[in-house]
Symmetry: D2
Subunit: 355 residues, 4 copies
């Protein structure tokens, strides 16, 4: 597994298992001279951390980031930023029941087949979404570097409930006003009730996180294989439980005609419509970038499920422990973090486009 | 722009503009010992080439591949495979009208802003989908290496027309029986009529290409950032005009409950359902991999459109020349090619997973 | 600075400043299934650590490695190995005199010009050779993976003193029998006396580390730009204070005739001589790989030196504190570590050479 | 073999066998806006090409470069530059005698063992130095981008003959005044006579190419693993027949004391001496960069040599055909090209060092 890095110039490499000693990472290529607001980083961590509200897993993790290098007197020095988040809550015993068995729709079976017999089965080990905490650290730093660019992720779908509003009508300042992170009060209340109902059933439900990025300069993105939206898509699809990505007109665009879909220019190079989603030919055109990310329901449910063990024998997976009934409220800061990481990386790459 | 490569071990780098001397590429890391069927490669090229039927652009390009290295006495030698496709049809004059103007929803404007004044405007230059011919070359070679794996892309949507069938009910042998490349005869006929109607209107329409991959061994894929579906998603999103990607349950999965979505195991490790789409935790589980790719309508339409020039002055983009009314029939071999490239690359990467 | 990684499939990324909280790294792509001997790793660390003998710096650092991930029940799991080495000895005050001044032939000035005003000046910060401790960790793990390959580095030169013996006459079991790490008893004694003399003068001296690698299978190495010896050379040249690298016949080979230099074959594919140094066309041929690495004298001397500050004003750099009079005894395990890292990476790459 | 690329932002990928249809490559990441002097490129090619003088191989190759993309109206567009050099002289029959046998100290045996039975044996196939022509193309373009930086390679050693002059005493304008490319008239004459003598003996001889780079801005180079001199070293060691690399004080530096070796500052940040070789901590300090590259004698000699075939049976390798009695005169432009490629790549990387 050498897939633990993302980025070319601004590059994050992460390590760590859900119930090991610690998780952490190295941010290489962070430009020198960025004044770091440590509190703002921790706030991002708090948006992702477990136990933050009644509708997320109750695992207790303070998720305090310790920085070991790369920041001196509050400013980035251009050297790699090493950081560590200790795992506070390591109830390894809780997981003895999955030592030799495979939970349905988790990565237990595929890790076992790929890497062999010795496997950190505790809480999914490396395949746990706990790893995403490290992404939030790097994303928070990238955000601080990206002056003038604002990234607004929010929950736009929970199960069958969907926020059917054009993004231009949304007041992003409302996103953090509720525990679902849906910037529409009425919908947020419905979603919260729905998630609580699902939790009561011992079940889980999927959802959609949407994201709008404002203020991206024109010219960010590399053509052909590394189109900006292709890398954004990969970054989102690399988040646990993600099943789909669309940007601009997305899947609906596939139903449209060219005469409807084309974004006509204004004299200043902006466009009258923005079905392109802020990217043309893989390069930002200065308009808002927006996209949707689909999350499947969390595989861990509080219901008994039949499964198999290493020998292929029948076992029963008992529904017990802590879990997220719906992952999207905690996924909002992760989507923002991945956006920031990709944007900063491409922002730096773009400096090499002209002589 | 250093984004002209894809792959880590099996790596394709492409070059070339739509109306330059030639396009081509280098395939590096192709393992030694693969017997190459040149005719099969050309057949793939013919599936993508312009002028192949009444519903695609009538540009005439034989798209004959010349191989310059890496294949000796019909077998790959492990050295890089250099190849070139000469541009037969270089009517540069056709493009003088866009020399200083920007076509709506094309990459003219963003290339100009990113790379500066000197720009090969002819037919979109580098941003033209002509570049995808090189992907088909590499994909055809990858397919020949991937013994036992079969890749079946097909058109499942054209504008509002959709093939609403579970993929398991589809007879892939029918895909090439019609010029739309929809493996359902009735739907294919409707789609063909619709595309012809659109062409008559001087318009274009989007569509959906779906793909099913069978026979992928268990264990292919790298966890965390390089999940197999994340790289597949990036590969698809890097194709011209793509706006969305979903795999397995996709966006519908976001509406489901965990108790519905979980794929329960059979005793042999296969699963009773396959909402996971053949990938769990970023690693193939041996079940079919399937996904959808959304294409927006081609931006070049045969209708006059208002636009701007370099000075921001109003111009009229005249609808003239050759164009694809709907890109998806020709996109089918490209989706297959990108799948093959990603799979072979990850297949080779997987050889390093255990000592 | 995004240059903190080495390796393609087996990949080490390091972080940390000399007097920060900690140094550490991530080893990504370590294959699953390697049983890890933690004591053997610590032994390698002890060979590199300061304070180990009378002829090295007396800075006190236990250099205890803490592993945070990637090893479970004593075996690698294929997931990234995160590790940290706390900096015990952080006498930051010692360095206030170089806060605004540049030490001659150190990296103070170039870091300042490259990264700007904020710079961790304490003990050289990131440019300190302290960083090499992380290389030894990764190298020790790579060594354990490389069953059947043995790597023997040793001191072959200290200032004017040189071990003029063909490597085939050397008894590598003697290397660790003296504090210089020269496997010739008589020469080791002379070298030790010479280093002590240099230390007394408050001066430093350069030296040569040679390395012989036995048991490398045939076929390791990638042709053209990534030739095995090219990557070995880069790995060695990336060690602090290294000024030169030669392998096989090296610079002497430049004086020879082809009729002398060619290694004639034996019937089994081995060669009668080995001026090639075990590598032909960038690929191992199964013979011993051997090379020399030249280290310049450490720049920190215990003598006053004129220098400049940020404003270009004259300052005097006082010779004080702790330093290594000669770096090569401690460089021996680093050269071995870098060899092991490169070899394991290329060993894994070679798995993709044939279908 | 996926080692056919060099560079991170300015990236060259090459392909082609000595006696295949053509060699060529793709230069990706060349910044837009460089006015290209095609004649200057061809002049560099002519400095490397065979048949240029009485002391090099008499193979006839015009080595005319055809550019297929990336340059429009004489200016780089930022898109990949694809180029091809046709192989004019493909006397494949000449090589039937090595179809199943291995030439001593060539790469025939290692390629066979690494890649298997099917191998382009003609003239060494991919392992031939013919591939370096592509490096000269990319280097010539990089040179044109690197305004203000001048790169001066020259022959400083041929067999036992050595130019023992400090580089500061050399008049680089003399390099091209003789066919050896030694900028000292007297030494050049001796070297030429010596090479002719060697050729008469049917033998070959090694040599040294030295290189001085002037005008490199301060701050170029990435610390730790990607130190500027480490990448330069790798680039040089990747050239056919190279056995050693040293920069600045080099191997002699290993004999020196710190008090002699340290380069004291002038008030303007320049240094009074330059034993550092223009690089400190892996980063350029604005002083001249200089280094030496050792080439072994060419393995093809015009004398009969005993060897083996695939079955390990004795064969006689007959000395016949065309060969270079000494490779260094033709290596001069290659060393310059590799220098330019590395410098431009690092120059672009440096743009990301600060925010």
């Amino acid at each position: 597994m050498a897939g633990n890095s993302i980025g070319k110039l601004f590059r994050l490499t992460t390590f760590g298992e859900s119930h090991g000693v610690a998780i952490g990472g190295v941010i290489d290529g962070c430009p020198a001279g960025i004044t770091i607001d440590l509190e703002a980083i921790q706030q991002e961590m708090d948006r992702r951390k477990p136990g933050q509200s009644a509708i997320v897993t109750q695992r207790k993790e303070p998720d305090t980031v310790e920085f070991y290098s790369g920041i001196f007197e509050g400013v980035t020095t251009g050297t790699p930023i090493g950081f560590v988040i200790k795992n506070a809550n390591q109830k390894s015993k809780d997981y003895s029941h999955i030592k030799d068995s495979f939970r349905p729709s988790h990565a237990d079976y595929t890790y076992y087949k790929k890497f062999g017999d010795v496997r950190d089965y505790r809480g999914g080990g490396r395949s746990s979404a706990r790893e995403t905490a490290c992404r939030v650290v790097a994303g928070a730093i990238a955000k601080q570097a990206l002056q003038g660019i604002s990234i607004h992720a929010f929950v736009s779908g929970v199960g069958p409930l969907k926020l059917e509003k054009p993004y231009t009508d949304i007041d992003f300042s409302k996103t953090e006003s509720n525990i679902v992170r849906c910037p529409d009060e009425k919908m947020a209340t419905e979603m919260e009730a729905y998630i609580k109902q699902i939790r009561k059933e011992g079940d889980t439900v999927g959802g959609i996180v949407s994201c709008v990025i404002k203020g991206v300069p024109i010219g960010i993105g590399e053509p052909v294989f590394d189109r900006l939206h292709a890398e954004l898509g990969k970054a989102m699809l690399s988040i646990n439980a993600v099943k789909g990505f669309q940007y601009g007109s997305g899947f609906e665009g596939a139903e449209m005609k060219g005469s409807q879909h084309n974004d006509l220019f204004n004299a200043d190079g902006t466009t009258q419509t923005n079905l392109s989603g802020g990217i043309q030919g893989g390069i930002s055109n200065g308009m808002d970038i927006y996209f949707d990310v689909a999350f499947k329901p969390v595989a861990t449910i509080m219901q008994d499920q039949p499964s198999i063990d290493k020998e292929g024998k029948d076992v029963v997976m008992q529904g017990k422990g802590r879990h997220d009934p719906c992952v999207v409220p905690r996924a909002v800061p992760i989507v923002e973090a991945m956006s920031a990481i990709v944007l900063l990386d491409y922002y730096l790459q773009n400096r090499a486009s002209k002589m």
